[in-house]
Symmetry: C2
Subunit: 352 residues, 2 copies
């Protein structure tokens, strides 16, 4: 693939020494950079021909620090956590920030917007396309090799593809709640989500349909145990019908998602999960797989099979969580423990 980086590099934004914001748990003076940009390049899509595509990125931390690429679910994006320069909330505040497991004082933390998240590609996407696009971004940014790729949910799928296709550019893969293939039952759930979106034809209807599809997605991310604890209340009357206890929560989740995500972006990213397939035997990069017993979308058995079939060093860490597939967004301490463990291994080698 040919590479045409057009991203504008932003300058360093150091904290004034001795006057860090009081909310920072660690008060050593720190130089934290934050930069955003975008890369345009030509990418041969597996199922959609060669296209000019754009990937937007954000980076926090010193440019010469070891780089960790951090990838989340399909609704995640380049903005991992707030910084002085970009103070809005990010999608992984539990892990990314000063004093957290992914500390921008010591690491360069890179996030991207998914290929297709802007709704500009209405063709089948594949997780391999995402992995190849990331390789282009790394080229554009002059990053030869990642200290680690930490991917959760969709990010784990893309991480596995990256490890299989561009393993020489990666020292360690941490794949959380994502397997080498979609489970057939989970694919069926997603196919219904896409069928919901296809019910609608015009713009406003499509937005409403995406919201309802997201409600179903949210159910696949969570566990009955959590809902039993949170929503154990009788249905309440609303006009000529009744609403169940979880209904306003689900509606809120769906509406928030559909305000940010187009129908095309949703359909194509959802579809790409069902096109995902990686042969674990093609992954030689040291890999830590994290699975959650209560995850109904990515059964732990599939992650056991993945970890056991890796060509390189592999291990499986399993957690219990009421939050099922969404544990990576909720179980901050457990996830931080795994991240810290992964990054500490061979630290001397990195520093050398």
């Amino acid at each position: 693939m040919s590479l045409h980086p057009t991203g504008s590099r932003d300058t360093l934004v150091p904290f004034a020494a001795g006057s860090p914001p009081s909310s920072f748990p660690d008060c050593r003076p720190a130089h934290v950079t934050a930069e955003r940009g975008e890369c345009w390049f030509s990418l041969p899509l597996r199922h959609g021909g060669t296209r000019a595509v754009r990937i937007s990125y954000e980076s926090q931390g010193p440019q010469n620090a070891p780089c960790v690429l951090v990838l989340g679910g399909i609704s995640a994006h380049r903005h991992l956590a707030s910084s002085r320069r970009y103070p809005e909330a990010g999608w992984w505040p539990g892990q990314v920030g000063i004093g957290k497991s992914l500390d921008p004082r010591r690491l360069r933390l890179l996030g991207i917007d998914w290929l297709g998240a802007d709704g500009q590609i209405d063709a089948p996407l594949d997780t391999a396309d995402q992995a190849d696009a990331i390789a282009c971004v790394l080229d554009a940014l002059g990053i030869r090799r990642l200290r680690a790729l930490i991917g959760a949910s969709y990010g784990a799928l893309v991480g596995l593809q990256f490890a299989a296709r561009h393993g020489e550019r990666l020292r360690h893969l941490l794949a959380i709640s994502g397997a080498h293939r979609p489970h057939p039952f989970s694919s069926a759930w997603r196919s219904v989500q896409r069928a919901i979106v296809r019910l609608a034809t015009n713009g406003e209807d499509r937005r409403n349909a995406v919201a309802v599809a997201r409600q179903l997605a949210v159910l696949s991310y969570r566990s009955p145990e959590e809902f039993a604890a949170r929503f154990d209340a009788p249905a309440t009357r609303n006009g000529d019908r009744f609403e169940v206890a979880a209904e306003s929560y689900l509606r809120h989740q769906g509406d928030r998602f559909s305000a940010a995500f187009s129908a095309t972006a949703f359909e194509r990213l959802s579809e790409s999960i069902d096109l995902h397939h990686v042969d674990p035997g093609s992954i030689r990069v040291p890999t830590t797989v994290v699975g959650v017993h209560e995850d109904r979308l990515v059964p732990l058995d599939d992650l056991r099979q993945l970890a056991a079939s890796l060509a390189g060093p592999g291990r499986l860490v399993s957690l219990h969580s009421l939050y099922g597939h969404d544990a990576f967004l909720k179980e901050d301490d457990a996830i931080a423990g795994v991240i810290t463990w992964v990054l500490a291994e061979g630290e001397t080698e990195v520093a050398a």
Copy 2:
């Protein structure tokens, strides 16, 4: 409630002695009746005021035999199984028929169409309304007391309500895969199904939406293990998108359902599951509860709690089935065993 039976009783349809159809496993000459009719009566709905309602019924077997009321899921109806008079396939051919666990030579087997299944009631329905409607039907048919009520899925919910509200008219309740209350996570699933239907406004769109909602319902009835065994194949291209392996199966299920079920009927019966609540302490009728370990819609723990809280004699039978909530439609031998066991108890008392 006042009662206005208008159903026309059909006459007996005896088989010619000595010439039973060759497919019957038991060749003793048998007199099997089959009759259909409908009852109109005035029914005070819990949430919808007093209305003139209609219940259609079908009965197989001698009118003077012990009567067993047989109730299935929301898509079930009065036609349990084919008979000489009504030869089309019924919804429970695995259990109902000559030589089967529910044998119309020895029992009068009664089935009904659910209140609201005709789409004529666009108001909140409750399983208590269904139970009261059944009491009216029994009055109309001159049936003082049921030998048993065998209810599966929605039929189990209605059976529990009937046992709580009209216990004196029932000797034994067999409740398969239905609990005293909906699980909050299952209610959330159903709320999304109803949200899908509400996306559509006009007739054809509503039919399509019901079909997609049914696809989601089917997923809640089945298990990941079954799908892993049946649909473990890559997605295939269909025009500009890919379809997962289960997609045509789900579409078929949805389309078949939406051809027979109106949006209003679906919404109101689905909603009635979420309004369902029975205090197990109000059930004094001997009750056998059947649960399936793999049922994701009605967790076995809820059935354990139900069985343990009954005011009368109660017991729990648990099965393993790849078919989850739909086990009652698939595990013919295991279900037949439980039915036979329940009906054999106190047989002499019944015969006396």
